[in-house]
Amino acid sequence: MQMQGLSLDQAPPYKIPMFYYILATFYLIAFCVCIFIYGTNTTNRYYYEAIAMTHILTLGFFAHVMLGSLFQMIPVIIGVAYRNVNIQAKVILAFLNIGTICFVTGFLYSNKILMHIASLCLILSIVYFALSSFFTILKTEDKNPSVKTFLSALIFLILGVIIGVISLINHGNGFSSKNFTDVHISFLFFGWLIMLISAVSYKVIPMFYVTKEYPLFLKNHFYWIVSLIIILLSIALISESPLIPILKTILATLTLIFSYTTIYLLKNRKRPRRDTTINLWYFAMINLSLASILWVVSIWFKLDIDFFIATIFGLGFAYSIINGMLYKIVPFLTWFHLSSMGIFDAEMSQVIKSKYMKMQYNVYLISYFIFLLALFIKPLIYLGALLFLISSLILSFNIINAFKYYKKLNKKTI
């Protein structure tokens, strides 16, 4: 009897997440080009150029990788499939791209019409994606802590995007305040990003790195405590309450607990082999810890180090962890799809060559430290951008090559 392997019934086609990933790397390249052009003039996070550059990274790179990954991961790890995933993913991708491009050009050229088009497209793509994912996940019978964390993250994504779009639409009318922007940031950075990474980590870290499970206490309580603090913080921010520093400190402490637990689990894993992905995870978690500590210090000692913390959080933590996840997900995805089609020649280690991953990681690492130095020695930003551009080109090359590897093996069997 011919045995049957893994089922592809619930997974979307291979090309769907891959299109998201490949486009994401193009935005990284665009990000580097923008640093070359506008980098030295952006000394305040509210400058239009700074807003545009931040969103090339968050919408262009982070959101593309996250949405593309969730289309693939939710069916595989939660066991429920999206309805009409092929059409949904393509429509969302189209609107997300139009929205991102209009957002960035709208801010770079101070064009209100483009900003309004961006608002519409981003609401249509991201909020629609979040609602679709939310109701898809809700179908699972097993409401384990990972599922609850995913659901909480999606709620904050919807709220964060809506608040962002309200700010964008009313931009320049006196409505958008600094505090309102801070609510947008806390919803998306803590409610969405940290929450999503914790939900994914609960599944991915024990699965791929042979660690023990995350402690039940953390899995059961982290998501609702973080949610509660974010909601209290947003109320405090809008009402300019004196509780803001205390709530921010609690949030930073919770983040520190998560990052420390991840480092502890990775340090005590059963098979302590070093590869680029594990280095990226460690690096991300160290930066998350550092950003949390510096945030608390800056709050209580009233230090103006926002840019420094943002660089550590954005490029040191968020970028690094997404880069690390890409290097785990892409080979796994390629192997999973090929073996599900009965192609057993696929080797995960051959999908992206280890030497190219290492090369990209090393260049990224140097660029990151140069970016940090550039906060004190301005002209170094060009060197940082050049190195980050090289790193992004290698990342793009690696992802495109993975796609080619899949096509080559797939063609062999036709």
């Binding site: 045995m3 049957q4 392997g5 893994l6 089922s7 019934d9 595989v76 790890i77 066991g79 024990p206 699965m207 791929f208 790195y209 042979v210 023990k212 499970e213 039940l216 059963k270 098979r271 796994f332 192997w335 999973f336 073996s339 995960m348």
Partner: protein
């Protein structure tokens, strides 16, 4: 399932994804009538259940705890 059946132990708890499922798929391919595959892992293997059902095999979960999962797979 007969208690006198021959047991084959497959402990994949030290392996990273996707090797546990690859080993399990290989093992169920080799499974003969009257044999029981005792599958030990550190977590519940969600994709393996689909493969078991698709191949008309049966399973019994023996233990599903934090960091330890054991089940028997048979024809």
């Amino acid at each position: 399932m007969n208690t006198n059946n021959k047991s084959i132990i497959l402990d994949v708890s030290d392996l990273e994804a996707p090797y546990p499922i690859m080993k399990a798929l290989d093992a169920i391919q080799e499974l003969k009538d009257g044999e029981i595959l005792v599958f030990i892992h550190r977590m519940s293997p969600c994709k393996l259940f689909e493969a078991i059902e698709r191949n008309n095999l049966k399973y019994t979960i023996i233990k599903d705890e934090e960091n330890y999962f054991e089940m028997q797979i048979y024809k």
